[in-house]
């Protein structure tokens, strides 16, 4: 523990955190007192940072299709089919309405 403390103090002074001996000792004592808690927090914050970003970018989507602009072909095809179905239905509507009007007379 003595050696570890010496190394921590050296780290503090080298990194510019603080040269003040008493202040550094206070920090080290706090760390000792709450070492279990710090260990737990260390686990909590250590794993999350890069996992999300990389995995999301690695999932294959139709990015190339969109970049090429070919997605518009898909939209056009489906829209044309849909328009065809709707026109058919409108046609049916007209025919049935005409028949209903005739029968009403």
């Amino acid at each position: 523990m003595e050696k570890f403390e010496k190394q921590v103090l050296k780290l503090f002074s080298v990194s510019g955190i603080s040269d003040d001996y008493l202040h550094n000792q206070l920090i080290i004592n706090t760390m000792k007192k709450y070492k279990f808690l710090f260990l737990l927090l260390g686990f909590l914050f250590s794993a999350n940072l890069f996992a999300q970003q990389n995995v999301t970018e690695e999932i294959a989507m139709a990015d190339q299709l969109r970049a090429d602009g070919k997605i518009w072909v898909v939209v056009a095809v489906i829209s044309i089919i849909f328009a065809g179905i709707i026109l058919f239905l409108i046609n049916m509507e007209r025919k049935v309405s005409k028949l209903e009007k005739q029968l009403k007379k």
């Binding site: 995995v55 999301t56 999932i59 294959a60 989507m61 139709a62 997605i71 898909v74 939209v75 489906i78 829209s79 849909f82 709707i86 239905l89 049916m92 509507e93 049935v96 028949l99 209903e100 029968l103």
Partner: protein
């Protein structure tokens, strides 16, 4: 326009669904990839089917209470369109399953419940074909329709949730609850359900009107 506004609404909602269904942002998920967009097409088939079947049951009840054959006409045509929607739902689901689950029809409780339900409704059509007298046909098939619906709903909603399932919403998988569905997808999904439901209703009401006209002409002849 007073009677047809909902048809125009259906076209608008479905155009919106198709455009944003393909161009809108979706969450990037492993295994699903872009097929997550199928949510806007496969799922509304089933919701529309259930909606139309409810209308069908309502009309069956009305027939049993009044013996007016026009209600029977509505019952059968709404059931017909529901069966079509169910078949489309099965087909789109099978294609989606092949790509994501690796099998066209895995041995899954939800899928098997759906298969049983489709068989029930095919039996309804066969039942109707076996009667000559319109009133008898209407009465028996109305009762069958109500019973089939009463079995259909627990079979596809309750039973799969009691056990393990691959299908979203069952067996502990996430589905449509507040925290499970991405909010951007929700903005396209809700209009899609309404749009497809209205389209199914449009097709059903057209069929009803055509049959009514046919019957009218038969009566006159």
């Amino acid at each position: 326009m007073k009677n047809n506004w909902w048809k125009i609404l259906a076209v608008v909602l479905l155009t919106y669904t198709i455009y944003f269904g393909l161009m809108g942002e979706v969450p990037r998920r492993a295994i699903l990839n872009e097929s997550i967009r199928n949510l806007y097409f496969h799922v509304p088939m089933w919701f529309s089917m259930i909606g139309l079947l409810s209308v069908s049951v309502w009309n069956a009840v009305k027939y049993l209470r009044t013996n007016d054959l026009h209600y029977d006409l509505r019952t059968v045509e709404f059931t017909n369109v529901s069966i079509l929607l169910g078949l489309l739902g099965c087909a789109t689901g099978a294609v989606w399953a092949r790509v994501t689950w690796g099998d066209w029809w895995p041995n899954d409780p939800k899928l098997n419940s759906v298969a049983i339900s489709m068989l029930m409704y095919f039996a309804y059509l066969v039942l109707r074909g076996s009667f000559e007298d319109p009133q008898k046909r209407a009465r028996i098939s109305a009762v069958y329709n109500i019973l089939a619906f009463a079995v259909f709903i627990p079979l596809i909603f309750v039973l799969p949730r009691l056990t393990d399932s691959l299908h979203p919403g069952n067996g502990g998988n996430p589905a449509f609850s507040q925290y499970d569905l991405n909010s951007q997808m929700r903005m396209i999904f809700y209009p899609a359900v309404v749009g497809w439901g209205l389209l199914g209703g449009w097709i059903a009401t057209l069929r009803v009107r055509i049959r009514a006209v046919e019957r009218h002409m038969e009566d006159k002849a």
